[in-house]
Amino acid sequence: MQIKKSLTSFLRSKGFQIMLGSLAILAIIPILANNNFFLYVFTLIFVFAIYASSWNLLANSGQGSLGHAAFLGIGGFSSALIGGSISSAVIASLGVTKMPIGVLSVLIQIVVLLLGGLLSAGIGFLIGLACVRLKAWYLAMVTFGFSVIAGTLSSQLDPVTNGINGFAPTTLVPSGYPFYILVISFAVSSITAMSLIMKSRMGLAFRAIHGNEAEAKMIGINTAKYKLIAFVISTFFAGIAGGLYAYFIRFIQNDVFSPANSFLPLIMTVIGGLGTTTGPIIGSIFLVSLQQTLALPSVVETLRSSLGTFFPGVSNVGPPIAFLVVGIILVLIVIFSPKGLAPLFRKFLNYLTSEDKTKRAKKQ
């Protein structure tokens, strides 16, 4: 009942209309731009928007994970491995040499991604059991430690995972525009679902726990239960993001468990705006476009010829300078604007709309 109510109010809300509108525009932009680089960056932005949103949901319940890469990796590896075995079974039964691309392969892709998410959520449930009693910094350590253990296990189980050298998942949805559509449909549904959860009674309980766990317990919230639920939901979507990531870049390796991947959703969310729906998306747009622009060969070359002489020990000066700045931005945002860039963005939108109103008033 509550969910239905919040669903209707969400569907009527301005935020949802803005989201739908911007997604419709985003679906068209790559066609208009007709540029493979843009398509690549846009797809990656949405994959990481799901990942950062999943982290955001967990942090909204007061649990700041420093090891979310574990779930990105578990989702990625399991969906890539399951997808591989399903498609080889299909290939064998059809008696063809290559996986035929069609409705069946798209369905397999979706099922495999969901399975990756479920497996990630299952492991998330077990880790969550250990985490619900822990305070902020202990939880940060345990989750970080788990991502290290997950990486080690993946390399120890190399005969199964193939994680040391890495492998390419079987193509189920062709890359380029079809995959982009797959990613944005997953992104819309995942982010909408998470946004609904955060606006529901459950989300209220999450925020109460984040605000003050002892008080939340006192007013009758089963804090352990809600923290565990947040953990499971968050790891489910992180797993889906991992699957999309592996199928999108057509490669998965143990590198996916790296601390950098664990810190990425945190930075995106905090820069964009912790606890908001738009925050992780804004953060993802910011960081992914920054990273991808710096990886462009022409940009690398320009930076090397202009700044390389100042930093002789570094072969590619772009990323360290950029991430030095990202670190400074992160600290500045936490100190001066704890809600991130999202409120500033909203103020800007309000400013634009209010200007329209004054113009309209003048016309009348």
Binding site: A59, G62, G64, L66, A130, R133, L134, K135, A136, W137, Y138, A140, M141, V142, F144, G145, F146, V148, I149, T152, L153, S155, Q156, H210, A214, P259, F263, L266, I267, V270, L274, F311, P312, G313, V314, S315, V317, P319, P320, I321, F323, L324, V326, G327, I328, I329, L330, V331, V334, I335, P338
Partner: protein, 292 residues
């Protein structure tokens, strides 16, 4: 390597030497937590800066590596003061997540700045005792590791005296017990926070110098020792200095034995597994105080 009695003894001695470096880092982290109730996840990056500064002073001024550690200690203490005043002071006492976010920002700042300044290749500090080792029957231990143990013991004794015998130490202990009462007793709590952070940073710098003499290091060296130091103080109990020493030695030995018996990749995974198991059983650490 064959597992024989001498190799096990050697492993234990190595474990003690490495444990000593971790103890210094853990003690710094611990004193900062005890007084400020702040977990500085960027503490290992201070170790990294300490190692690089020691390297630079040894390399460019031709100073003895152990004397260079003293200078880098002072510089890193000043960096610590700046970090505390500019960042942590502004988020202290609020949402705990903010402290984690600031630490993470600091990690990015320190690591990338170090990479730009000192380059991406790994370095090692050359000490006057480099390459020499004490040869016992079927075991040989480098002098640097022995000196490291002595430096750590001396530093810890000096630190213990500072905490137990001086007025500053008394003020730090008072602040750690209850900062509002300490304030009423005329202690300038903000100054104590600043000095505590500086002392913690200086300990990390010593750890960094010793680490850089024993091992080669690069700009990413800080991440794992932070985690290990954190595991140690969780094992020993947050805020307990004796606990940190016992935990540090235990950790160093367990890590080295795990590496010997299961192979290098398992060293840190086993340590984390131990940490997670301890936290599941006792959410406040083995010797930790009961929370609310």
């Amino acid at each position: 390597m064959d597992i024989t009695a001498p190799t096990i003894i050697l492993t234990l001695i190595w474990g003690v030497a490495i444990g000593c470096v971790y103890i210094l880092l853990a003690t710094g982290l611990n004193i900062i937590f005890g007084v400020m109730k702040l977990v500085n996840f960027a503490h290992g990056q201070l170790l990294m800066i300490g190692a690089y500064l020691t390297w630079t002073i040894t390399y460019s001024a031709g100073l003895n590596a152990y004397a260079a550690i003293l200078i880098s200690m002072l510089v890193v203490a000043l960096i610590g003061v700046a970090v505390e005043r500019l960042t942590f002071r502004r988020v202290l006492g609020g949402d705990k997540l903010n402290e984690i976010f600031v630490s993470l920002g600091l990690i990015y700042i320190f690591e990338n700045a170090a990479m730009l300044i000192w380059g991406a290749n790994s370095k090692q500090i050359i000490s006057p005792l480099g390459g020499m080792s004490l040869a016992l029957p079927s075991i040989s231990i480098t002098y640097d590791r022995i000196v490291a143990v002595f430096v750590v013991v001396a530093t810890l004794i000096a630190f213990g005296l500072l905490i137990q015998k001086t007025k500053l130490g008394l003020a730090m202990r008072a602040t750690s017990q209850r900062n509002s009462t300490a304030m009423l007793m005329g202690i300038n709590v903000e100054t104590i926070y600043m000095l505590t952070f500086a002392i913690g940073a200086a300990l990390a710098a010593v750890a960094g110098g010793l680490y850089g003499i024993i091992f080669s290091f690069d700009y990413q060296v800080g991440a794992l020792p932070t985690i290990i130091a954190f595991a140690i103080i969780i094992l020993g109990g947050l805020g307990s200095i004796k606990g940190a020493i016992i935990g540090g030695l235990l950790y160093g030995i367990v890590e080295q034995l795990a590496t010997l018996f299961f192979g290098g990749v398992w060293g840190s995974a086993v340590a984390f597994a131990m940490l997670i198991v301890v936290l599941i059983i006792r959410p406040n650490g083995i010797f930790g105080e009961k929370g609310e």
